[in-house]
């Protein structure tokens, strides 16, 4: 029983970060219907940036998103205008081909710059763990989950209560109507893409506090966030958070009760079952 609860804790803490990553993807896919295969590699890239900034300048990992967030935002906007904007009118396979090209590029460039061995930073002021009623909770994971929740809350506020956020939602609901109301959809798309990729900067920084990074981990994060998106459906941030938690818990339980290698197996099986049984997601709007 204690193991179950311990796993629940771990799963919930992981799930918050997963939800944050999936939120970025949801912004990109939900607004402009572009399939970004490189999303997981954005996470990988921001983890490397975190590693770089952390190890060169000695800035603590928790503070690195202050630098990587704008960096990834600009990166996202450049990618949008350079690649995505040119392929918006094309068949969806072309968009996938472009993002796969981007994915290959990111993977290769990280391998070139940082070589293939895993990298990690060991120091952060949130190292250690706290004891809570007999359960051990790693402080780094707790802090990461809290920050993720705060960021998700901020994004929710941004989408609901600010003008740019409202244009994003309007464009995602009905592109034509929004354009008629004077929304410049290119700028909105660029904003959504930049925001979506900059969210991975925060997630990458948080993941770096307790994980290592290697160039091949992108696809796993990509599929993972697609899985959460399929579970949640489009248009609900609460649904996204709950789906993230479900995936986190499922992964954590599978790892300790079945086989450590089965973590991805469980996620993908959930993914396929949800697609079969409820294609618009559990919390989907449409």
């Amino acid at each position: 029983m204690e193991i179950v609860i311990q796993n629940l804790f771990n799963g919930i803490l992981m799930g918050c970060i997963y939800a944050l990553i999936a939120l970025g993807l949801s912004l990109i896919f939900g607004v402009m219907n572009v399939v970004n295969f490189a999303h997981g590699d954005f996470v990988m890239l921001s983890m490397y940036f975190t590693f770089w900034i952390g190890s060169i300048w000695g800035i603590d990992i928790v503070l690195t998103p202050l630098i990587t967030f704008p960096l990834l935002f600009i990166f996202g906007i450049v990618i949008y205008y350079g690649l995505i904007n040119r392929t918006l009118r094309e068949h969806y396979t072309i968009q996938i081909a472009v993002t796969v090209g981007l994915m290959t590029f990111l993977r290769a460039i990280t391998q070139l710059v940082w070589h293939a061995q895993p990298r990690a930073i060991s120091y952060s002021f949130i190292q250690g763990s706290i004891q809570f009623a007999g359960y051990v909770i790693a402080l780094s994971r707790l802090t990461s989950a809290t920050i993720s929740l705060i960021i998700i809350g901020c994004i929710s506020f941004f989408l609901n209560n600010t003008w740019p956020g409202r244009t994003i939602r309007a464009t995602s609901d009905d592109l034509d109507a929004a354009s008629l109301m004077g929304v410049d959809f290119t700028k909105t798309y660029a904003l959504a893409f930049g925001l979506g990729s900059s969210l991975t900067a925060i997630a990458g920084g948080l993941l770096m506090t307790f994980q290592q990074v290697d160039p091949t981990m992108g696809l796993r994060f990509g599929l993972l966030s697609w899985c959460i998106l399929a579970l949640a459906g489009l248009g609900s941030i609460t649904g996204l958070l709950i789906s993230g938690l479900m995936v986190g818990i499922g992964e954590s339980i599978a790892m300790s009760f079945w086989d450590p290698r089965a973590r991805s197996l469980v996620i993908y099986l959930i993914f396929i079952l949800v697609l079969w049984l409820r294609p618009r997601g559990i919390f989907g709007r449409k």
């Binding site: 392929t87 969806y92 396979t93 590029f105 070139l112 993908y268 396929i272 697609l275």
Partner: protein, 333 residues
Amino acid sequence: MVFKKNYTIRGIFLLLLLLVALIIPLIIRSNQYNVLLVTTVLLYGVMATAWNIIGGLAGQLDLASFAYLGLGAFTSGTLLIRYNLTPWVGMILGGLIAVGFALLIGIPLFRFRIREVWYALTTCALVEILKVAFTMWEEIGGPVERYLPYYRGSFYHMRFSSYVPYYYLILSLLLITLRLNYKISKTKLGYYLKALGEDEYAAEVLGVNTRSCKLKALVYYSFIIGVIGAIYANMYGYIHPSFFNGQESIKVAILGIVGGRGITYGPLLAALLLVGIQEFLRASMGGEVSGLYLVIYAIILVVVVLFKPKGIATILQDIYPKILPKEAKKKDV
């Protein structure tokens, strides 16, 4: 008369290409590594051409090619290790197992109307599922490579002392796949597939049984890849769960897209160019700077997709009327 002349020029051209393909391994035979490279390029050519049936004609973005390849490899390899069954039979059985798995997945997928992105992501997840499943399934797979029994130059075991026979084996499979691709695109099934690839709802309304058409395309595709898988296992001499490679599966689909969806020779052309460039770069600079060849490859890929979104095969289609203006005109009429 005109038609006949047109036919002969194309025929001579194709015959020349075939002749070049037949002679290549004899020229570079002295360096087995080069033969392996050329064979790898051809292997991707077959896979991309087979992918063209489901991905190009039917417009279903299937990213599970290496799942079928792995199943074919494991079927044939395990039968050879356990029961000493010749891979020539195991090859067919491997193809059938791949078809069985494809049907097992394809029937519910098409029944629940999973389309476009979600179909792509499901098939992408399948490869990873099989990889983990085979790593955990200790009787057949497991984390350690299983080597096939080593017989130097045994025809029964499909083990040859050089890579040249594999080259011809894969070349003949390529010809069969191209022929099949061409045949399908000229039959009713092909037109149905093209229609539903363009607009599935419209095709359904017009009375096309989209589900059975897509399943047929899936069967052709998975069978060819399964057979290729058996050859792949024998060529490298071992089987391992890393054969289920998600990254490479995506690459096969990308070759199909870049080559030109639905154009019979498009994917092959893309495989020859892109995989050729990649393997050449890897062979020439891979040892010095790891990853650099992939950077160049990725840039080429993105540039090609941005400037030729209909596929590089369309370049040839544009050039054709310029070289032979008379014939192209007659052909249109």
